[in-house]
């Protein structure tokens, strides 16, 4: 194993698990600045995790192992997803390989676990959030698979390390297929991270919650796992965006060094979008995502026409 592989593996593990809370922290911080407030410190998510870690969980009467295990299952599947998403094209296979469609399955497992826990507590507000999340997931998953398919077709493999290698060195705007795919992926990033205009991460009104809804009943370390998982989801989609859909160099060390830069830029972009765009009606979101899916299909068409 060469040095670069080792460093990539370490970056993947440390970044995806320990540094991930920094990403939502940065977005919140900059959003505050853009709105003329001082905003919370970027380290705020860590403080919340520390606070939650010391508190006890909540046992809900009449629940089963499904409620008790859901946070662990969500965190475990997101951790597995962190291993699947490569940081460079030389990422080592940490027992799970790097297949793009495995990633889709792992995200679905997390969604299933948290929605089942909402049924276990029979909390109407949790169920409302879960049912909206699952409705949007239909369109998010189709768009995600199509946008990954654009990249996979260019790389002629669904192995993400191969995809990162194949898209390296050429700017995204030079390839119409990849440009359309990245447009679709941008919508997936917003939907998966639960940010405006799809969902409002700052909401305290149960009726408007999507991703936060099913978390209502949890406290203590359970909630800490779920928040860590949400942060890891930011890491996964943003790391993919940086290494597949943003311009990245061929030289591996440079590729690795530019990852933090790309992540910080994308966090800034999310903060700007969140400041400019209001949350839209939940029933309009599928239309926007359908536009993303159509863009990805056009991207595939562009690739097919281009390779004739």
């Amino acid at each position: 194993m060469s040095a670069v592989t080792l460093v990539t593996a370490a970056g993947q593990l440390v970044g995806g698990i320990a540094l991930a809370p920094l990403l939502p922290g940065l977005v919140q911080h900059w959003k505050g600045r853009l709105q003329g407030r001082r905003g919370p410190s970027p380290l705020q998510p860590y403080r919340e995790l520390r606070r939650l870690w010391a508190k006890s969980g909540v046992t809900v009467e009449g629940t089963t192992a499904v409620y008790r295990l859901a946070p662990a299952v969500v965190a475990a599947s997101l951790a597995a997803a962190v291993l699947v998403v490569p940081l460079t094209s030389r990422a080592p296979s940490l027992g799970l390989g790097h297949d793009a469609l495995v990633l889709v399955g792992l995200l679905a497992l997390a969604r299933f676990a948290i929605a089942a826990s909402a049924w276990d507590t029979a909390n109407g507000f949790s169920l409302m959030g879960a049912s909206r999340d699952l409705t949007l997931a239909v369109f998010v998953e189709a768009t995600l698979v199509l946008s990954l398919a654009v990249a996979a077709l260019i790389a002629t493999t669904t192995d993400l390390t191969g995809v990162v290698a194949a898209t390296a060195g050429s700017p995204v705007w030079a390839n119409p297929a990849l440009a359309l795919g990245s447009l679709a992926f941008a919508l997936v990033v917003i939907a998966e991270t639960g940010r405006q205009p799809v969902d409002n991460p700052d909401t305290h009104l149960e009726l408007t919650m999507i991703h936060e809804g099913p978390l209502l009943e949890y406290a203590g370390r359970d909630l800490a796992y779920l928040q860590l998982a949400a942060a890891a989801r930011h890491w996964i989609v943003l790391a993919l965006a940086v290494q597949v859909f943003l311009p990245h160099p061929r030289e591996i060390w440079l590729q690795l060094a530019l990852v933090p830069v790309g992540l910080v830029v994308l966090c800034g972009a999310l903060a700007v979008v969140e400041t400019l765009v209001a949350k839209m009606r939940v029933l309009l979101v599928p239309r926007v995502l359908a536009i993303g899916a159509a863009a990805a299909l056009l991207g595939i068409a562009a690739h097919l026409v281009g390779s004739l």
């Binding site: 049924w119 507590t121 029979a122 169920l127 669904t158 939940v282």
Partner: protein, 648 residues
């Protein structure tokens, strides 16, 4: 050796059926049948493993020939794998009444008919097995229901639709036999009219029996009527035999089909998978919901077959073999988890007395073993890692993704659309089975009967436990089958046997690593979390108590999706408000999502047919004079035609 084992198994099934029809030997008979089914399973998978053929080879001649090759072996193995637990389940599920004994006896006839269709090596035997399979399943449903008008009507519409569609099967098989192509794939020229006619007839005929949209109309009506173990066999095995026929004709005997036909098959598969799961989401009867999911899964399998046809037409033989293996793997997987879910539904019905999903609830605590097995089945059918449904859906997604990689613009785009449809189907299946698991197993019991439900007896639990275990094993080690399945394509050799799925051009699916990471991390995280908890408290719903009357229902949970898809689904709802002196006394709400194909295709067709029959009836006056006049008119017309030289 394999042949002897298979014959022994089949005779045991027949003997067991005869025994079970007797009052004193009911349980013994079913047990003998189950032992026979296990022997069939063993011989089938053994046959698949050796890769050689036993008995006669295929012939186009009209002579009775039987034999087994690896593809038949795979389907026979699946048949035994499902039938053995279903029969063990029957020992306590079927009542030892006269009706129960007849059902037990007929089950063996049904199984033998299925095996006959799979072992047939000539057109005549195949068509005999095919028709017997339909008739015996119809008889099973008729016998098991008290003869109410509605179920009789359903059975007759089942027979009518499958026989009308079945014409396609006869046309396809007889045309193949006429061309001498059964067993000799080169006999039909690629691109010829006969080839297209055979392919279209097979798609219509066998597609009807498999339940693809728009030929599915009988399936969600007929399957739920049967007793749970028979439903498991119908959804798990019978529709798979139809797919076996489809694979034989389209992939093996009919030569290389043109690209457009593969695209047509992709379209049928995409429509079936999305349509099946969408209507399942809005269904409130557990067994009907499972039957609609059979349409969805048949759609996924047909997507695999379609990808195989397109890739083969484009010369990508290696990927065509992978696509076929994906379809076959999903066939086995769907048989296992669908049988498990139907048996679970039977156990719940036995314990609660209802299959309305809004009237169950909290059964995981009342029936921990049954509930846990059902939970595994639900996760498997939802296509979640690390269970078997994920492995085959992953393979099918990969196959569809490689259609644009090898195709031109039109078929490449069709592959991409099918890929998106399958991704949406997977998400919809997660949605649907979260709903099922939540309403049936979790939360508070919704009726007193559900609150008093008792755990199923041992044979029922054992049957479901075995199937749940198979779901896990095939999820951990799909590669055990995959290597052999690749070799079932006539143009491809078997691959090496490994545990995970390793296909060039993909990031591969290391299932073992996935299981270790997911299970291990979940266990570690649960341990780290510790047991520290506050005193148990009721659910906190923003200061509101969660009352039984406020429990969420199936219709409520799926409402966002219904609103999003309103333009396509055209749901109907009625709200009637009764007011007295300005005060609302009563509000009644009813809503439904009508099946568009039933309403806009079958209902007008049925009306037109009945109207035509009414007109035709006017000819039948019953008076002898009129009939004599008809005869004379006919003779005159024929004579005139002969005089004019129309007969040459």
């Amino acid at each position: 050796m394999i042949g002897a084992l298979l014959v022994a198994g089949l005779s045991a099934v027949g003997l067991g059926g005869a025994l079970a029809a007797r009052r004193t030997l009911f349980t013994a008979g079913l047990t003998v049948q189950a032992a026979g089914a296990s022997a069939i399973a063993a011989s089938g998978f053994w046959e698949l493993g050796t890769g050689s053929s036993v008995g006669a080879a295929f012939t186009s001649a009209i002579t009775v020939r039987v034999g087994v090759d690896p593809l038949s072996g795979l389907f026979l193995g699946t048949l035994g794998l499902i039938a053995a637990p279903a029969l063990v389940f029957s020992t306590r599920y079927l009542q030892q009444s006269a009706r129960g004994r007849v059902v037990a006896g007929l089950t063996s006839v049904f199984l033998l008919a299925l095996a006959l269709a799979l072992c047939a090596r000539d057109p005549l035997t195949f068509l005999t097995g095919w028709e017997l399979m339909t008739l015996s399943s119809a008889a099973l449903i008729l016998v098991s229901r008290s003869a109410d008008r509605e179920s009789r009507q359903t059975v007759f519409s089942y027979l009518a639709v499958t026989h009308l569609g079945g014409v396609g099967t006869w046309v396809a098989v007889l045309l193949l036999a006429h061309a001498g192509a059964i067993g000799h794939p080169g006999a039909i020229a690629s691109g010829s009219g006969v080839q297209i006619a055979i392919a279209l007839a097979a798609l219509a005929g066998m597609g009807t029996k498999a339940g693809v949209i728009p030929l599915h109309v009988w399936l969600p009506r007929a399957h739920p009527l049967a007793p749970a173990p028979v439903s498991a066999l119908m959804s798990g095995v019978m529709i798979k035999v139809a797919l076996y026929g489809l694979i034989r004709v389209l992939v093996e005997w009919d030569g290389v089909l043109p690209v457009w036909f593969g695209v047509l098959v992709l379209g049928v598969g995409a429509l079936s998978s999305v349509g099946g799961v969408v209507y399942a989401l809005f269904e409130h009867d557990l067994k009907r919901l499972l039957a609609l999911h059979s349409i969805e899964n048949v759609g996924i399998i047909v997507l695999g077959i379609g990808a195989c046809l397109v890739l083969r037409a484009r010369g990508a033989d290696a990927w065509a073999a992978v696509a076929l293996a994906a379809a076959l793997l999903h066939t086995v997987n769907h048989a296992v988890f669908k049988a498990l879910l139907f048996l679970g539904a039977g156990a719940f019905e036995r314990a609660v007395g209802s299959l309305q999903i809004d009237r169950l609830g909290g059964l995981l605590r009342r029936m921990p073993w049954t509930g846990a097995a059902f939970f595994v089945g639900a996760m498997a059918i939802a296509g979640l890692p690390p269970l078997n449904g994920f492995a085959s859906e992953w393979l099918t997604l990969q196959a569809l993704l490689h259609v644009p990689a090898y195709g031109h613009v039109a078929d490449g785009l069709a592959g991409a659309v099918a890929l998106a449809a399958l991704a949406a189907t997977a998400a919809l299946a997660v949605f649907c089975f979260v709903k099922v698991v939540g309403l049936v197993l979790l939360g508070p019991p919704r009726t007193p009967a559900a609150a008093a439900a008792e755990e199923a007896p041992l044979p029922l639990r054992a049957a479901m436990g075995v199937l749940a275990l198979v779901c896990v094993v095939l999820g951990v080690a799909p590669g055990l089958l995959f290597g052999r399945l690749v070799g079932l394509a006539p143009w491809s050799a078997a691959g090496p046997t490994r545990l995970g799925l390793h296909v060039p051009g993909t990031g591969s699916l290391p299932t073992v690593g996935l299981v270790v990471v997911l299970v291990g991390l979940t266990a570690v995280l649960a341990l780290v979390r510790g047991a520290r908890s506050a005193v148990p408290a009721p659910t906190w719903a923003s200061g509101q108590r969660v009352e039984p009357a406020l429990n969420w229902t199936s219709a409520g949970f799926t409402k966002p999706l219904r609103l999003v898809l309103e333009a396509v689904l055209r749901p109907q709802r009625e709200i009637a408000t009764r007011t007295e002196r300005g005060i609302v006394q009563e509000v009644s709400y009813s809503g439904s999502v009508p099946h568009l194909i039933d309403e806009h295709l079958y209902a007008p067709a049925a009306r037109a047919a009945l109207g035509a029959a009414a007109h035709a009836r006017r000819l039948q006056t019953g008076s002898l004079g009129t009939y004599v006049a008809y005869l004379i008119a006919l003779v005159v017309v024929l004579l005139a035609a002969a005089r004019l030289g129309l007969f040459g």
